[in-house]
């Protein structure tokens, strides 16, 4: 959970970096929704499955990476 990481505040730092990457992707012209960070503990298997399904559906909706398609 945020701030309760094996690497202490590592996941808080990671979130800030993910936010930066999302802005960079938008600047480049790619959808920022292609990257997402969620906080899950190792005991949250159901939550992991749910988040993976949500992300998969979102990516499918966005379609293939246009850089690979062209």
């Amino acid at each position: 959970m945020p701030g309760d990481c094996h690497y202490l505040e590592g996941n808080v730092h990671a979130r800030r970096r993910v936010e930066r990457i999302k802005r960079l992707l938008e600047d480049i012209g790619l959808q920022s929704e292609r990257v997402k960070m969620v906080n899950l503990s190792s005991a949250m298997a159901t939550g992991f499955v749910s988040e993976a399904q949500i992300m998969t559906a979102q990516i499918q909706q966005l379609g293939p990476n246009p850089l690979r398609a062209s």
Binding site: L24, D27, I28, G29, L30, P66, L67, S70
Partner: protein
């Protein structure tokens, strides 16, 4: 060190528009330490430009290289062949690096990827603050090692002004009043009497008011380079 920030990708794309081959040149000194234009930033920017141009249907050829220091000729010499081969050089050095590249490679179009901001230091990770205005006539010996030129919003020599409130500057409460800092430090050091000397007007000729500055050290010059 020199502190800089990367320009927006939008502005950079405009600066390199029309170039088919582009070389991003990072600098391994100040701008590496402030995470603006080192090898990592040069590589990320080159990738970003490649992706952006591909998405726009242009496919610019963008490569990157980082030198130890852009502000010395000997570090630029090894770039000569790479520079010859491109339409535009995008410098991720400070303003000095950009000009050094343009001066050293006079036939090459060189553009800046950074905004050079100030002379300062990181006060904590991710935060940089100005400390020196390079005024050319240092008075830190009179102010307890705290510079009122760079850190007082009015560059007062005999402060504080009436806008100092609870130790903060009137232009922004996040900015500490330099003269409060100076007073507190001199008080702590038992040297408040230093403040009894009223400072006379400063010699601004040593700063930008005297035009572009130059230092000549005859003891260091090479006879073969003398005009």
């Amino acid at each position: 060190m020199i502190i800089a920030e990367q320009k927006s990708l939008e502005e950079i794309k405009g600066l390199v528009q029309g170039a088919e081959k582009l070389l991003v040149v990072g600098c391994g000194t100040c701008v590496t330490v402030c995470f603006a234009g080192g090898a990592r930033e040069a590589s990320i920017l080159a990738s970003s430009l490649r992706m952006a141009s591909k998405l726009n249907g242009h496919s610019q050829q963008v490569s990157d290289v980082t030198v130890q220091r852009q502000c010395e000729w000997e570090y630029l010499d090894p770039l000569r062949e790479q520079v010859k081969d491109v339409d535009v050089v995008l410098s991720l050095g400070c303003g000095i690096g950009v000009q050094a590249l343009a001066e050293h490679f006079p036939d090459t179009w060189v553009v800046p990827g950074l905004n050079t901001s100030f002379l300062g230091l990181p006060t904590e990770q991710g935060i940089w603050e100005e400390r020196c205005a390079a005024c050319g006539d240092c008075i830190l010996g009179l102010t307890g090692g705290i510079c009122p030129i760079a850190r007082c919003s009015k560059s007062l020599l005999n402060g504080p002004c009436g806008g100092s409130e609870d130790g903060h500057c009137e232009i922004n409460p996040d900015i500490p009043c330099a003269w409060q800092l100076i007073h507190d430090r001199l008080n702590k050091m038992g040297r408040l009497e230093v403040l009894m000397d009223v400072q006379t007007p400063k010699k601004w000729r040593a700063s930008r008011d005297g035009g572009p500055r130059r230092i000549i050290r005859d003891d260091l010059r090479l006879a073969s380079e003398e005009e």
